[in-house]
């Protein structure tokens, strides 16, 4: 079987194993969080965060600190800021995201422009690179993804309540703001972790596609969550295999696979609904 040989060969490289471990975990977290983000109309937050993450990565490269050490705090702060802006009506949510994401890109590009002699590849940061993961990154990713997944499971019912009906959740004494902040915080961490491999411009798709695909086929919230996680993980792995076998950029290939799955699910649902009538 050609496919198993390809996978076997792929797994013989240390950098590939790292990329796949980190990628699978990030895909899983992103797919879980994505369900709430999409349903709460926070879908664009991922885009805003990743572009700010881009600026943080560039600055980290210039002042020579570990990329995650700088970008995680910066992106977490941005996430809270976005949430606040979403709540206050002065700047509407979508404008706030657009403002922040374009500003992030601009800052990154300016910093790159004024610094000479740096070895950063802007292309790698924007579109991702398979070689980006060090062993330390991998362990950090494992730890943080574990935290994301544990929090998601422990607070599943609160997250459901806050996603479904904020006013009811509030009335029953749930600290809605706490859980919304939690969602923003976990999203920020996930985005930063996955960014270097998937690319700053593409990472947000991991929070969108699996959730949207799952919603085509599932009717219960729990099944949407589970399906989203499965779709996210499977699409990532399939995308990586394609990327390796055909020598395509990994981030874009993973997004491509997600797009295909989404399209198939949408068509199937459409045909099924037509057939019932």
């Amino acid at each position: 079987m050609q496919i198993f040989e390809t996978i076997g060969e792929m797994l013989s490289f240390t950098f590939m194993i790292r990329a796949i471990v980190v990628g699978l975990l990030v895909s899983l977290c992103a797919a879980l969080l994505g369900v709430s983000l999409v349903l709460k109309r926070y879908a664009m937050i991922g885009t805003g965060l990743s572009n700010v993450g881009f600026a943080a990565m560039v600055i980290a490269g210039v002042i020579d600190v570990a990329p995650l050490a700088l970008s995680i705090p910066v992106v977490v702060v941005t996430a809270f800021l976005l949430l606040r802006m979403n709540e206050s009506s002065k700047i509407k949510g979508d404008s706030a995201v657009a403002l922040i994401s374009t500003s992030g890109l601009a800052v990154g590009v300016i910093v790159m422009g004024v610094t000479t002699g740096i070895t950063l590849s802007i292309c790698n940061i924007l579109f991702g690179s398979i070689f980006a993961m060090t062993a330390a990154d991998m362990y950090l990713s494992i730890a943080l993804s574990a935290v994301v997944i544990i929090i998601f499971v422990l607070f599943y019912k609160q997250l459901y309540a806050v996603t479904y009906d904020e006013s009811f959740a509030r009335a029953t004494g749930t600290k809605v703001e706490v859980y919304k902040s939690m969602l923003a915080l976990l999203t920020a961490v996930t985005v930063v972790l996955g960014m270097r491999m998937m690319g700053a411009l593409l990472i947000a798709s991991l929070t969108l596609f699996p959730a949207l695909s799952a919603m085509r086929i599932c009717k219960r919230f729990l099944s949407v969550v589970i399906a989203s996680a499965v779709i996210g993980v499977v699409c990532f792995f399939v995308g990586m295999v394609f990327s390796f076998a055909l020598d395509l950029p990994p981030g874009a290939t993973v997004v491509g696979v997600n797009l295909v799955v989404f399209t198939i699910f949408s068509v199937v649902t459409f045909v099924r609904q037509r057939g019932l009538r």
Binding site: K157, Y160, Y164, D165, A171, G173, K219, R220
Partner: protein, 236 residues
């Protein structure tokens, strides 16, 4: 002992008084209908009752072992819920959120309560159905079951019949009335629909940025403010 006692309470946003002079109480089996025009302070008072807003002056107390988080709340239907992928059962059991507190998952007790309340409202056969595929009346019953899961004593209904057709509206009022008679649960209803309010409720609270009437529904019908409002006029 009354379940909710409001003494001389006033509510304000940033020092601007929205509603004041609130003196009323709600006891077991009471059916209080809160009426008034848009902007008369109904929603603000509702937030106060749910413990989401503190009175600027005066007090709102809960008695008889009731906590503000144990009021079963039926919010207005919002458009955000319309295409939410969730089953009827998931919606109903989320009413048990506060009883479970910070502990993860739901207990068997929570599951039993959910089933029991669905049975009570005749929606047990819909258990596995998708919420968004139900009719407006069925959805309202599901949300009512969720509210029942959150309380044993008081239901707070916020404009429950807006958007329902007349037949379903009548059904809904009957359901509420039956619940109150059978379980002794107190009902607080915020409504534009004054006529049905006086028909079903035992007492009326009329707001006009202050309390202009509180008393039995029969007296309200005879009062100046009540007669005027029931004719569809505005009381100044």
């Amino acid at each position: 002992m009354a379940l909710i006692i409001c003494r001389d309470a006033a509510f304000a946003y940033e020092n601007k008084i929205v509603v004041e002079g609130l003196n009323f109480q709600v006891g077991q089996k009471d059916y209080l209908c809160i009426v008034g025009e848009n902007g008369s302070g109904k929603t603000t008072l509702m937030k106060g009752l749910l413990g989401l807003m503190r009175p600027k002056s005066g007090t709102i107390e809960t008695g008889d072992g009731l906590k503000p988080t144990q009021i079963g709340y039926l919010p207005q239907q919002t458009s955000a819920q319309k295409d939410f992928p969730t089953s009827v059962y998931e919606v109903v059991i989320s009413g048990r959120l506060s009883s479970r507190g910070i502990l993860p998952f739901y207990s068997w007790r929570d599951h039993e309560a959910a089933l029991e309340n669905m049975e009570k409202l005749g929606i047990l056969p819909l258990k596995k159905k998708s919420f968004k595929e139900l009719s407006g009346g069925q959805q309202q019953r599901v949300l009512l079951a969720r509210a029942l899961c959150a309380t044993k004593k008081v239901l707070l209904l916020d404009e429950p019949v807006s958007g329902l057709d007349p037949v379903v509206t009548a059904e809904f009022y009957h359901t509420i009335e039956a619940l109150r008679r059978e379980t002794g649960i107190a009902i607080i209803m915020i409504s534009h629909d004054v006529r049905s309010g006086v028909e079903y409720a035992t007492s009326i609270l009329h707001l006009q940025n202050r309390q202009v009437f509180f008393g039995p529904a029969d007296e309200y019908k005879e009062s100046d403010v009540g007669r005027y409002f029931l004719r569809g006029g505005e009381f100044r």
